[in-house]
């Protein structure tokens, strides 16, 4: 039985989401603008299929939805990926691997949380072994809501992401670097003994450069 | 009645037959007997047969022993002396070998308690 012994997500830290968004529009120079434009034209996706959402990822690349026309293509390994799509509820086992995959991606990198279960627990809101709210553990850039969201919704999410990239806004990975202690504390709370070894993230503590 | 025995051919034939018989007996003993002394005796018998053959064939009927004495000054009518001398020598040598063999057999028997030729298995391919 699920006991609501502690607050979760927005209930505890309501200001968190707003804090990530940079209030004043940063002015981009021409080179930065070009770079940002190039970045949004090419998104390599690491699709992390943890639940039923994974089934909605496949049609994205098929002739019907053809995400490739947006420059979106699957990447084989996290090293090459720009976008991590977390598609489904996260259990402790999968959370650990999602974090690991995210940390192995090269910046700039973005996270799309796909589906209600990922975002707020959804139908597993009182399950004893799922992680309810992914944005406590990883910085999510785009939330694609639904149970399950259609591929069209996902494409919309991508397009939104592209727009944000082109605007040169501060993204989730900045937030992750800046608030690493908070994220790690959250992660440690649920993972406990299963925390990955120090070397996987300790460079974040040094400002992201090691 | 037994004159035909005086003919050298017949006589030599008998010698040959006899000594060959002896030889074969010796050979049989050598191959079939297992006691060391019997084997030595068989060898002696074989040697003996050869001596007999030698002396027998070298002598023809009517010849006397080749001993130069009693006024005999020539070898006329005498048997060829060489085979006899040689046979004597050979007998001596055979004797010596036999003696050595017998002594070795005795020592061997003392040491190991057997004199069986087939039981001599100390030395063999490993």
């Amino acid at each position: 039985m699920y006991h609501k012994s502690q607050c979760e997500g927005f209930q505890c830290e309501p200001g968190l989401l707003d804090e990530g968004v940079d209030p004043e529009d940063r002015q981009l120079g021409p080179v930065e603008r070009l770079v940002a434009w190039l970045r949004q034209k090419s998104l390599f996706v690491l699709a992390y299929g943890t639940g039923c959402g994974a089934i909605e990822m496949r049609p994205l690349m098929t002739s019907r939805f053809d995400a490739e026309r947006f420059g979106i293509i699957n990447a084989p390994t996290p090293r090459q990926a720009d976008v991590l799509v977390i598609s489904g509820y996260l259990a402790l086992k999968t959370l650990k691997r999602v974090i690991r995959s995210y940390e192995q991606m090269q910046e700039p990198k973005y996270v799309i949380a796909l589906g209600s279960c990922t975002i707020n627990g959804g139908m597993y809101w009182d399950s004893y072994n799922t992680v309810k709210q992914v944005d406590r553990y990883l910085p999510v850039d785009i939330y694609v809501n639904g149970c399950m969201p259609r591929p069209e919704a996902l494409i919309e999410g991508f397009v939104a992401l592209q727009e944000r990239i082109a605007r040169g806004e501060k993204a989730g990975f900045h937030r992750y670097r800046e608030k690493i202690d908070w994220y790690k504390a959250n992660q440690r709370r649920v993972l406990g003994e299963m925390m990955p070894p120090d070397y996987t993230y300790d460079w974040y503590h040094a400002g992201g450069i090691a | 009645m037994l004159e035909f025995l005086d003919s050298p051919r017949v006589l030599h034939g008998i010698y040959v037959l006899g000594s060959l018989t002896l030889f074969v007996i010796g050979l049989y003993g050598l191959l079939a007997k297992r006691h060391l002394l019997k084997i030595l005796i068989s060898i002696a018998v074989m040697e003996l047969s050869v001596y007999l053959l030698f002396v027998g064939l070298a002598t023809s009927p009517g010849e006397t022993a080749p001993i130069l004495s009693d006024g005999l000054r020539a070898f006329a009518g005498m048997a060829d002396p060489v085979p006899q001398a040689l046979t004597l020598t050979a007998i001596v040598i055979g004797m010596a070998v036999l003696a050595l063999g017998a002594s070795l057999t005795i020592q061997y028997h003392r040491l190991t308690g057997n004199a069986d030729v087939t039981a001599m298995t100390e030395l063999k391919d490993s």
Binding site: V98, T200 | L31, V117
Partner: protein, 586 residues
Amino acid sequence: MIKLLFFTVSLTPAATLLGWGEGLAWPLFEGVRLTLDLTPLSAFFLLLLAMAAPLVALPMLRGTADSPAFVLFGLLLLGMQLLLLAGDFISLFIGWEIMTWSSYLLLLRSARTDLETAQSYILFNLLSAFLLLAAILVFYRFTGHFEIRTAAGLTDWQEILLALLFGLAFLTKVGTLPLHLWVPRSYDQAPDAFSAFLSALVSKMGVYGLVLLPTLFPDALAGLLGRLLDGPAAGYLLAWIGVVTSIVATFKAISQEDMKRLLAYSSIAQLGYITTAIGVGSSLALGGALYQALVHTLVKLLLFISIAGIVLRTGQRRFNDLGRLMERMPISFFGVLIGIIGLAGMPPLPGFAAKYLIFVSLLDARWLLLLAAMVLASTAAFVYCYKLIYAPFLGHANSASAKTATEAPWQYLVPQLVLMGLLVGLGLFPGLGVRLLIDPVLIALQMDPLGSPSWGELVTPYGGYDGVVLMVVFGTAFVLVTGLFFLLRGRMRRAGSPYDLSYAGEVPTAETPLHYGAGMGRELRRIPLVGWILRHSTQGFYAALVRQTRTAAELLSGFYSGNPQAWVLLAVLVFALALQASIGGI
């Protein structure tokens, strides 16, 4: 003191080469006179010897002085010099035999040599030696002299018989296919520094013999069937033997789990190329064969010495037990790197020049199928070359000793540096090698020299290439690219741990099997041809031969029963039978 003396001894081949006056002669006995003479061909191989001997001697100096090994090494050098300087076959054979047994005794100095290895080494080498002796005697029977010079007045069949006997002898030494059983195990188990010498030099003596053959019997290769396409027909057979050897040995090398065994098989394969080239027999091919011999000597010395250093420092020789030594033994790493580049015949190192000459000679003879087969062998060689550098130096350290190893001692590093320098220099100036080393030999063999317009250029009738330009272009490109990238590298971050891998979201630990050392190339078995080759081996045949001989010995030893009566019985029976046969038969 002993060490100094030994090192001086190892310089004797160089002294011989430099100080050789005119021929020497030594009467052995009635009708046999040993003559020693330095021809350009023998000078070429003597040069290899002179170069290799001190380089191999240096690692042997490490640790306590092993005087018997030093003496044997000296004898080995003596035998090889005799072999190379021989003006007649008897001296050649004497040198050959001294080389055989002294190298065998050196092989016994290793603690790892087992009985089967030792036996196979000596028996195959003696087989080779006795074949050589038989060939020499048949040669003597046909010509009435022992001198090494072109044999005149032989019929075709006589020449072919001789070439066959000589050829078998020399092919055994170079470890051609069905006769290669001894090579991998002995190279593997020999003392580590000595393996270098075995592979680099001792096997070259077989090559020396093979190169000698066409000069002895100019018509033997073409004699049987005339000319096939544009090359000698009998040589076609020899060339195929060489190529099949290379292919099989290459695949065997890929499947090895032990560094030295891999090198041994690669040695067989490389010598297979030489065999092929000799089969072609044109001046291009012989030039290629000599060049390959030169390169192979340098490369195998380098590789075996580097690996000896690894074995010295870690005590491990299996691919599974090593890994990530690159950071601990950087010079050895570069040694092996240069070595495998040479071994694989990649430009710009001189291995390419050798391969180029051989390829062109095959093209010249229009033996395209051979060319394809050879390409197969030399491409497959990339796999084992990669395995050789990956498994010890890259990947993950797989044993405690590999994690704590230090760089090899200077006795191992100096030869490596020298050899690296030689290889790079020769790669830069392939024409220089041709001009200085190959052409004099070819001229002496009454063939057209290859010629080279400049030091850097290697030229054939089919076109050539310029080593200097190649090296400069590649070097410039490398410097430019690296520099540019370094300027624009952005934020570069060094991985925090060797286990920081993208490993399907997992976090591998020291227990995770991350090192792909011995398993590399195992999946090649699934290719039908390769699987077939790897499933078969000549070992069973030789084992059966040994078994049969043992059975025969057992049967025959039934005669020696230890029972006097049986002896007498047999003697009498034989007597009776012989009597019956000779008198009764009349």
